[in-house]
């Protein structure tokens, strides 16, 4: 199962609820304003790092770059993908849950 989060964790509770209800082994993709959750040095880094022990976490690189960041700013263990990678994630998982 793939979870997508497109909200900043600072603004909305979507990432928090996603992490709470994602099963171990589920994939999580952060995109749009959700990419801020993938960034090193923020208040949410410990939460997201902790999620990496149970879940693969991905971040959409074009949304990261639009917001002035790149792979170097991403928490260790989070994988960057482009839209082709986003498509693969959807294809490789049985269903998609968007945490709007």
């Amino acid at each position: 199962m793939l979870h997508t989060v497109n909200k900043s964790p600072f603004e909305k509770n979507s990432l928090e609820t996603c992490l709470r209800l994602a099963s171990a082994g589920n994939a999580i993709l952060l995109f749009e304003d959700g990419v801020y959750g993938a960034v090193k040095g923020t208040r949410f880094e410990p939460t997201v790092s902790n999620a990496l022990t149970n879940n693969k976490v991905y971040v959409l690189v074009s949304d990261l770059e639009a917001r002035g960041m790149n792979t170097d700013n991403v928490i260790d263990g989070i994988e960057t993908v482009d839209y082709a990678g986003f498509v693969d994630l959807v294809a490789d998982n049985k269903s998609v849950q968007s945490w709007l």
Partner: protein, 130 residues
Amino acid sequence: MKFGILVNEGPYQHQASDSAYQFTKAALEKGHEIFRVFFYHDGVNNATRLTVPPRDDRNIVDRWSELAKQHNLDLVVCIAAAQRRGLLDENEAKRQGKDANNIAEGFRISGLGQLIEAGIQSERLVVFGD
């Protein structure tokens, strides 16, 4: 693989329509099939031909119309959501006694059943919204 796409927000206001477009384009480039793109909530506003965005910005509506033309996409606008928000085709305008219509090329207006059908017929359904 066969994908269905749901777009829940209007153009420019929210990135959802941009993301859905980029995803759809990437899926087509990888050889996947798009069963249908369904526009719901304010997403119906993506289907108006009356937008005039600044010249240095993307034209979200035209981009969808062109992608539909190139790939024979089925772009469906929810009729109930469209009625609330003032999105009409020629038939609907006549039926409702309105003196103008505003739907763009490549979009068609239909019922919510088309969304359920997209869920049934597609192997994956991806939701873009707020």
